[in-house]
């Protein structure tokens, strides 16, 4: 059983920030490539993975940061 120490929490927060930035960048890419299948379909794939990363990393970072 483990409580996250400060270094681990910082690491989680940093990863969470990167996930957010990645998502933002991908959304911008989606806008730039609007209507173009190669962009739209690959963006969909990337976003489905950031969704999973948010579930495993960002949600925990947010919850820890609230304390």
């Amino acid at each position: 059983m483990k409580h996250l120490d400060a270094a681990e929490l910082d690491r989680l927060k940093a990863m969470s920030l990167k996930i957010k930035e990645a998502e933002k960048a991908v959304m911008e890419l989606k806008e730039l490539g609007k209507g173009v299948p190669v962009v739209e379909k690959n963006v969909r794939s990337i976003l489905s993975v950031t969704y999973v990363l948010k579930f495993g990393i960002s949600d925990l970072a947010e919850m820890e940061a609230l304390d």
Partner: protein, 442 residues
């Protein structure tokens, strides 16, 4: 530190303080209920009047209605312009994968997966495979054509994501599969327990010792796997054999770690409740048998809130495990509420027979249980098939010993018949070894 962290797929979640895990689950539950209510016709109706923000405790959770398979069948007939009716939680254009339930208990339910929801399911399976020791060095053979059934698709894609090399083994017969395992040097298998035993039997008939095939680990799916059967498969293949619990609708929600004793609930991906079979508004106490209700907390294409799996399991005693994971553990599935029979006043699940036979009678290769009604009495019958032909004396002796042991373990009197080797059917996906032949089982 880095090496230690590689013991876990997600070291932060898997070793988190259990109280924190529960907080995340509750937060995810509120978010998921809000999503379901807004996007699914079924839950717009079912959860009318529920404010997700009011859900703070498990008591609050239990005020929400349960969902059972019949709800899903009816919702599937809803008016939305797709084959999924009111089950669908996303725009039909977002659905990327069609799956369906096996139809064992009635009309199959169609399960729509968006690309996002499918990735969420695969992520859960990555946890399962990693926990079972599957790694980049494994070559995993899946001896099935997966068809529209979900488990081996999940296993396939998760193994690929974990970094294993995956070899699909459909469109081959059993001998062809055994040859393929040998030819490619597979180190891992994913199959039903029944088929794991059947492949071993077939390998022996080909003059091949299954232990020499080089399989190091096997993940089983599709059927209950009592510990005696699991140990039998381990000794037959000389491999570590892992089990998990789940279903097409909720996804796999618990799985075994290296300890192979009980299964970790995949927290915080699922909210799992174990409820009193006779009064579903109450949770059972630690160690007590109940029916399992599951909410998968991240799948948006097929919202499912408080799904009554009808699986019977014991409420976890406590969280924690020697593997370091902090999630709650449940023991194996002990049957299904719709297979929970009362025969002459005795409660009984078919899994009890399997446990006894696999534990105490290694000479039995296959079996089949039937329940019939004669007059007003229920009669329970058991056909057992020995792995090798036996003389009439040996058959009678086996019959007598099984009769005594089952009487002792279940308090029931079985009508036992010993049949010839090869007489009982073999199964690849879900075995169907229990047949209730009563017109009105109630």
């Amino acid at each position: 530190m880095e090496n230690q962290q590689r013991d876990y797929w997600n070291p932060w979640l898997e070793t988190l303080d259990p109280a924190r895990l529960k907080q995340i689950e509750m937060k995810n539950f509120r978010k998921y209920v809000a999503y379901a209510k807004e996007h699914s016709g079924l839950y717009r109706q079912k959860l009318a009047g529920i404010n997700p923000e009011d859900i703070k405790t498990m008591e609050d959770v239990r005020k929400l209605p349960l969902t059972d398979k019949e709800d899903l069948r009816l919702a599937q007939l809803g008016e939305k312009p797709s084959i999924y009716g009111d089950l669908l939680g996303v725009d039909p254009s977002e659905v990327s994968d069609f799956r369906q339930t096996s139809g064992t208990t009635g009309k199959p339910v169609y399960v729509p997966e968006s690309f996002e929801s499918w990735q969420w399911r695969i992520e859960v399976w990555c946890h399962i495979l990693w926990m079972a020791g599957f790694r980049e060095t494994d070559r995993v053979f899946v001896p099935f054509g997966y068809n529209v059934y979900v488990a081996f698709w999940e296993g396939h894609y998760a193994a690929e994501k974990v970094g294993c090399e995956v070899v699909p083994g459909g469109a081959l017969d059993t001998r062809g599969r055994i040859n393929k395992i040998r030819e490619i040097g597979a180190t891992g298998l994913m199959n039903t327990p029944t088929y794991g035993l059947h492949m071993a039997e077939e390998a022996r008939q080909m003059g091949i010792d299954p232990k020499k095939l080089g399989i190091r680990r096997m993940l089983c799916a599709g059927e209950p796997l009592p510990q005696p059967t699991r140990r039998l498969i381990e000794s037959t293949w000389g491999a570590e054999v892992y089990d998990h619990i789940g279903g097409t609708e909720p996804c796999a929600w618990a799985a075994m770690c290296k300890e192979r004793n009980g299964m970790h609930i995949m927290e915080p991906f699922f909210l799992v409740e174990v409820l009193n079979v006779d009064d579903l508004s109450k949770e059972v106490g630690p160690g007590e048998l109940g029916t399992v209700v599951v909410t998968p907390l991240g799948r948006r294409s097929f919202p499912l809130v408080r799904f009554n799996t009808k699986d019977l399991a014991r409420m976890p005693m406590k969280s924690g495990c020697s593997c370091g994971r902090t999630s709650m553990k449940v023991a194996q599935i002990e049957g299904r509420t719709d297979h929970l029979l009362k025969i002459r006043g005795v409660l009984f699940t078919p899994v009890a027979v399997e446990e006894c036979l696999r534990d105490e009678f290694p000479a039995v290769a296959e079996f089949e249980i039937t329940v019939r009604r004669t007059g007003i009495m229920d009669e329970i019958g058991l056909k057992v098939e020995p792995s090798e032909d036996m003389g009439s004396g040996a058959r009678e002796e086996l019959k007598g010993r099984i009769f005594e042991r089952l009487k002792h373990r279940t308090n029931l009197t079985f009508g036992i018949e010993v049949v010839k080797p090869g007489e009982l059917p073999r199964y690849q996906l879900k075995a169907s070894r229990f047949k209730d032949l009563r017109e009105d089982p109630k």
